[in-house]
């Protein structure tokens, strides 16, 4: 593997603590994400990985800690703010718009870039149509990239699981994000689908220069793709560093394999 040069820090979370009532989900978590890297968050079930992503894009608001994104430090992110600032994500349980076609789902991902108003869209001819065609071109590029040309007009509810995951990635890409949060993009896939997805993740990172935060359970995938890995367990941060270092960490081994006391 060639030596990768990582850019500046784009996102830094510091001392994040999140609890729901008496339930402590995240406890004093701090890490940073550098421009152009693939950053993984791993940990056993219930470690707080998805909650961490939810904190980053503003779905959950932590009680303590700060989030610094692109030089601005905040106590919490707001959902639409995160979207407008170029943070996109996919979900562990697919969250597509089931009644709409693949094309419409990905087109919806571009909603923030559409400037025509409601009246112009009602008349359609003119600005709204010009914009639709312009954005359609971008969406077709994404469809080509993800190799889903054949299903562009299929309602996504009818698609198999692996394809739905791919469409969801397409919807996130449509926003041309700077930071892409992927919540278990390979869960429940067979080897071939996983290989495809890995290729897409690497290509997105390589071709578009998108910074990626990845949650994944498949250790082979994580160790191969990631530049750096954060390990969480029961809301605590166990380790943070390059894959090889994390793999050798005793606390991580204990968390995954268990310890006999």
């Amino acid at each position: 593997m060639h030596e990768r040069k990582l850019g500046e820090v784009v996102l830094r979370v510091e001392g994040i603590s999140l609890s729901f009532g008496a339930m402590r989900v995240l406890n004093n978590i701090s890490f940073d994400v550098r421009q152009g890297e693939i950053r993984s968050i791993i940990g056993p079930n219930g470690a707080g990985k998805s909650s961490m992503l939810n904190v980053i894009n503003g779905v959950y608001h932590p009680q303590q800690g700060t989030i610094t994104y692109r030089g601005v430090t905040r106590d919490q992110m707001k959902v639409h703010h995160a979207a407008a600032q170029g943070i996109a994500r996919t979900f562990q349980n697919i969250a597509l718009f089931k009644g709409m076609s693949t094309l419409d789902n990905i087109m919806t991902g571009r909603n923030l870039k559409i400037k025509s108003n409601m009246l112009q869209q009602a008349i359609y001819w003119g600005k709204a149509q010009k914009e639709e065609i312009e954005h359609r071109k971008k969406v077709e590029e994404i469809i080509d990239f993800l190799e889903i040309q054949a299903i562009r007009k299929t309602p996504v509810g009818k698609l198999p699981y692996g394809m739905q995951k791919r469409v969801e990635l397409g919807r996130a890409l449509a926003a041309e994000p700077e930071l892409l949060l992927l919540d278990e993009p390979m869960a429940g896939m067979n080897v071939e689908e996983k290989e495809d997805m890995c290729r897409f993740v690497l290509d997105i990172n390589d071709e578009f220069g998108t910074t990626i935060v990845l949650i994944e359970h498949d250790m082979g995938v994580v160790m191969d793709l990631s530049d750096r890995v954060v390990v969480l367990d029961y809301g605590l941060q166990l380790a943070d560093g390059p894959p090889d270092e994390v793999r050798a960490n005793q606390a991580v081994i204990d968390a995954y394999l268990g310890v006999s006391n």
Binding site: N57, V59, V79, H80, A82, A83, A84, A88, R89, F91, A95, L96, F97, K98, G99, M100, D104, M107, T108, G109, N111, L112, I114, S116, M118, Q121, A122, I123, Y124, A128, Q129, E131, E132, I133, R136, K137, E140, R171, A172, A175
Partner: protein
């Protein structure tokens, strides 16, 4: 065999994004418009135009409005009747206070006023969802009708409570409301408006705002995360939906019945229009028209059918049978195709594409 898309290639996104992409569909739509604009006014009796086609078109417009809100944006509403009443009374107040206003201005403005009222009652939708929202909108239905009955200002302090729409003309002697209006003029005026608003609605639902509505309907959390703001999107749906319902109400009072009365817009009207979009197909422009046709035309067909077959049945018996057959048909259609008549139409087209081969 006749209906197929094979061999039709599109080389531009513009062509691929057209409303009807298959040639035969376009022919069918043009034929339908020719029939609606030319053949029906020529061959139909005054009775047919004035008492069957008019309410069908107006209720189809109201169904279109509700379908935007419920079918596309996923916000269940039982306030349609109230919004129609708002449109009717707004048009009445405008037409009596400013008699020099043109009928089109009166109708569009009453739609605008209703949109404002709809926005107001749409605000709770940010917090309330599903059946609970339906109950909240039901409250708006009762409140609006109560308000129009309670305050004499809305009826210009008429003692009888029944107020008639003033005669208004499109231009010159072409009256579309009042006693001088011919059924043909009323029909063509209403048809033109309904076709234009249907086209406008189709344009909206295939554009960005339509996708945002459907995104909110299908998965609101994901919609928020990709940058769709909940309140403006829902309010736009409420506003546009009540705009259409208000226009439908104004047309109902001015062009169809000629009198403005709250009773025509009670909660039964709201249910009737909700049934139209459920039977016709939620989230479909075609569905609003099919549903309105089903609910308006079928009872007329059923009450006349025994007569056509030469059966001599007592009138009260006919109306009992009518109710039973109507109810049975609704259940039948909902079991056969829960997604409505529009979906049946789509399935038929899919079968036709392959015909005469099974697959």
């Amino acid at each position: 065999m006749l209906y197929r898309e094979a061999g039709e290639f599109k080389s531009t996104y513009r062509a691929d994004q057209a409303i009807l992409t298959i040639r035969q569909d376009r022919w069918f739509m043009w034929a339908l418009l020719v029939v609606a604009f030319l053949v029906i006014p020529l061959v139909s009796s005054e009775y047919w135009l004035g008492t069957i086609m008019l309410p069908f078109l107006i209720l189809a417009l109201a169904a279109l409005g509700l379908n935007v809100l419920t079918g596309y944006a996923g916000q269940l509403s039982l306030g349609t009747g109230g919004f129609m009443a708002t449109g009717a009374f707004a048009a009445y107040k405008l037409a009596t206070a400013f008699p020099e206003l043109h009928i089109l201005v009166v109708i569009l403005m009453s739609g605008g006023i209703t949109a404002g009222v709809g926005l107001l009652f749409g605000i709770p939708s940010l917090r309330i969802k599903g059946f609970y929202l339906a109950v909240a909108t039901l409250a708006s239905q009762f409140f609006l009708i109560w308000m129009f009955n309670k305050f004499g200002w809305f009826t210009n302090y008429s003692s009888s409570g029944v107020i008639s729409a003033p005669p208004m003309s499109l231009f010159g002697d072409n009256f579309v409301t009042g006693p001088y209006a011919t059924p043909e003029a009323k029909y063509l005026f209403t048809l033109t408006l309904v076709v234009l608003f249907a086209l406008m609605t189709k344009n909206l639902v295939r554009s960005n705002i339509g996708r945002e509505w459907m995104a909110v309907r299908d998965m609101d959390i994901a919609a928020e995360i990709i940058g769709i703001k909940m309140l403006p999107t829902k309010l736009k749906a409420f506003g546009y939906s009540s705009f259409l319902c208000g226009i439908a109400g104004a047309l109902w009072a001015f062009v169809y019945t000629g009198s403005v009365e709250p009773l025509a817009f009670d909660v039964n009207r709201s249910f009737q229009i909700l049934f139209m979009i459920i039977i016709g197909g939620l989230g479909s422009i075609m569905g609003a028209f099919l549903g309105a046709a089903f609910i308006v035309l079928l009872p007329i067909f059923l009450s006349n059918a025994p007569h056509w077959f030469g059966l001599n049945i007592a009138v009260d018996m006919i109306s009992h049978i009518e109710f039973m057959v109507f109810g049975a048909l609704i259940i039948f259609f909902l079991i056969v195709e829960p997604h409505g008549l529009a979906r049946l139409w789509q399935l038929l087209k899919e079968k036709l594409r392959l015909w005469p081969f099974p697959y």
